[in-house]
């Protein structure tokens, strides 16, 4: 789960990381009021969950509160990479001397978190990593011990931070580690961390990704999810415990198991079709879950055919068949459907669907070819 900049910085602030004074606004007049409170000179920053906001014109400096209101009006009317801007963060403007990158993420290969820093802050770190990797220092953190002070000092030295700032930098690095750890983050990033002209270290921008699997122990963070920023079908799917991702094709897919769901999409593509979605109903799904999945697939007007690929293990094919029948009663689908049931109670499942006017298939390749043909014919 992605957090907005303003949410990430609020969390950073709780862990002792200095952030600029500022608040979030949903209207231009609110933005003006906040700018007045901050003394006029502010930065107006769009809050959308994509990168490249600055390049898209979604971050602007205002000299006074009237200009802040004008800029907020413009920015709140924008769409950035397809996402409408619904909120702006109004922060006091900082006079910047130097920009630093500081972040923590999980290193899959090392099986440890890694703190990364660079004196080339304020730009995309992946770009720095690709073009000038020698400018980045990486310090792996033992997950059983946490960040040690010497590691922060090593990092400060590597990025040529003047010694006067080392103590404060150490506090910020420790704060970032604590925030990362306490929030079950998979990414906690300050980009840029700046040295201001009046010689303070301030986190001007912040980004956090939270591990969805850990949200059960963070109800406060779970509430921060901005459902305006995702497809409504994905929100609906989550409610039923379905793993769903909307895609641009026209063949809906319902599959049990993530690997098999990805594979079913791939095989559709292999035979010349385009999948409309990724959908894993999970293990042991009952008929209500199947019915919900079918409603979500059929709500997409692009869908011209649906492929059901169920390999019964824990999941029982007859349960899935019952779910399909229940949903068909309710949504009365007009598109052709191809069904392939194998494994636990497949015979019973097939018998239940015998009169449902569905196209049946024996193998996955056969099912995918039939779905592609059906989508073309529709």
């Amino acid at each position: 789960m992605k957090l907005h900049e303003y949410q990430s910085k609020q969390i950073f602030s709780r862990y002792g990381i200095p952030i600029p004074k500022g608040r979030v606004a949903a209207t231009a007049s609110e933005a003006r009021q906040i700018a007045d409170e901050l003394g006029g000179r502010v930065v107006v920053k769009s809050q959308v969950l994509v990168g490249g906001r600055g390049k898209a014109g979604g971050i602007k400096v205002a000299k006074n509160s009237i200009e802040a209101e004008q800029l907020a009006t413009q920015i709140l009317a924008m769409e950035i990479k397809g996402l409408p801007v619904r909120k702006v963060l109004v922060d006091e403007a900082a006079a910047i001397d130097q920009e630093i990158y500081l972040g923590i993420t999980n290193d899959r290969a090392a099986k440890k978190p890694v703190m990364m820093a660079s004196s080339a802050g304020g730009v995309d770190i992946e770009e720095v990593a690709a073009t000038t990797p020698e400018k980045i220092i990486k310090a792996h953190i033992d997950p059983l011990l946490g960040l040690r002070d010497y590691q922060s000092r090593d990092i400060a030295a590597f990025i040529d931070l003047p010694r006067d700032y080392w103590r404060e930098f150490g506090r910020i690095a420790k704060g970032l580690w604590d925030a990362y750890k306490a929030c079950d983050a998979t990414l906690a990033e300050i980009n840029p961390l700046v040295i201001t002209k009046d010689k303070r270290l301030v986190a001007l921008d912040g980004k956090m990704l939270i591990d969805d699997n850990a949200l059960f122990r963070h109800p406060d963070l779970a509430e921060m999810r901005d459902i305006d920023e995702e497809a409504p079908s994905e929100t609906e799917a989550r409610k039923y415990g379905l793993s769903f991702i909307k895609l641009d094709g026209n063949i809906g897919c319902m599959v049990n198991g993530a690997g098999l769901a990805m594979t079913s999409m791939d095989v559709i593509k292999l035979f010349g079709g385009e999948p409309a979605n990724f959908l894993d109903i999970g293990g042991g799904a009952g008929s209500d879950k199947v019915a919900a999945a079918m409603r979500i697939i059929l709500a997409d007007p692009n869908v011209k055919a649906v492929l059901y690929n169920i390999f019964g293990g824990i999941t029982r094919c007859d349960e899935v068949a019952r779910g399909i029948l229940a949903a068909m009663d309710e949504v009365k689908p007009k598109v052709p459907m191809v069904v392939r049931l194998v494994g636990t109670n497949a015979e019973e499942g097939r018998a239940l669907l015998a009169d449902a006017n569905m196209i049946t298939a024996e193998t996955l390749a056969d099912a995918a070819q039939k779905a592609v043909a059906a989508a073309r014919g529709a």
């Binding site: 049990n256 993530a258 098999l260 990805m262 791939d266 494994g343």
Partner: protein, 287 residues
């Protein structure tokens, strides 16, 4: 012979009295797996499966009383890390964690702790292991695989079933099938299992089923090119997956342009591995 599990496996089930734990314990016993004990804190002294399997309050007590040498974990995600620590501290040398949805920071702690103790973990978020005709430690339906000389290793669950089933339909059997799981941080990886298969006299050929995310398949390709003599066929799921989206499995995500199916297929083919276009084609590549 076979790898990791066989007739000598003395299995302990953590979370044996839960719905899933009990269901799969029944299935495993029906397959012939030797289940010696179960653990559910607070239910020590009870018996399950009509008095056949004793339940203990802790892994330590269960291991001392029964000589269990492998543990399988079915506890909910929020308790899974603790269950793995408990099994490790009780000295169980092989832990198989079926549980899906374990937080990644928990897994980093578990993995680092287990490595220090030299304990092998399979999973989490995996279907477990199956040595056809000998032992089933996990949830792979027993009737979809027959005994044979093909070692199977996979990051996926039902996709593995698909492949085992296609093998069976061609009369091809498995020596052992190892589901290593779909999480970004797990225990046993591809190379570990490939090495076991390379040294296992029962295994003549290998099928490796990978998916998008991470670089384990690329590393496996290097291992295959430099160390393996047995033929390997493969399939990589997620060729149509969009970047930046977690495709069900926590580990199946293309991040910063890394972990694409195209990269993995290229690396494997360069290592002499035959990569199938769809899963039903895999066994034919080893014929």
């Amino acid at each position: 012979m076979s790898v990791l599990v066989n007739k000598n496996t003395r299995l302990l089930v953590q979370g044996i009295t839960g719905n899933e734990g009990l269901f799969h314990t029944t299935q495993m016993v029906a397959y012939g797996t030797n289940i010696v004990a179960g653990v559910t804190p607070g239910k020590g002294g009870e018996w399950v499966l009509e008095g056949k399997v004793p339940v203990f309050d802790s892994v330590k007590l269960a291991a001392e009383a029964t000589g269990a040498n492998t543990s399988i974990i079915f506890v909910p995600a929020r308790f899974a890390a603790d269950a793995m620590f408990e099994a490790a501290d009780a000295g169980i040398p092989l832990i198989v964690c079926i549980t899906e949805g374990v937080p990644v920071q928990d897994m980093m702690q578990v993995r680092n702790y287990l490595d220090q103790k030299g304990i092998r973990l399979v999973g989490p978020n995996c279907p477990g292991l199956l040595t056809p005709g000998e032992s089933k430690v996990g949830i792979i339906p027993g009737d979809i695989a027959i005994r044979g000389d093909v070692g199977v290793v996979s990051r996926s669950g039902t996709l593995t079933y698909e492949v085992l089933y296609a093998m069976k339909n061609l009369g091809m059997g498995a020596s052992t099938c190892v589901g290593i799981g779909g999480d970004p941080i797990n225990g046993t990886n591809f190379i570990d299992v490939l090495e076991m298969f390379e040294h296992d006299p029962m295994t003549e050929k290998v099928i490796m089923i990978g998916e998008i995310g991470g670089t384990d398949e690329e590393k496996a390709a290097e291992y295959i090119a430099s160390k393996m003599t047995k033929p390997v066929a493969s399939f990589i799921a997620g060729q149509t997956a969009p970047p930046g989206k977690r495709m069900g499995h926590a580990g199946a995500i293309i991040e910063g342009g890394a972990g694409t199916a195209a990269d993995k297929i290229k690396a494997l083919e360069a290592a002499g591995v035959r990569v199938a276009k769809h899963p039903e084609e895999i066994p034919t590549l080893l014929k």
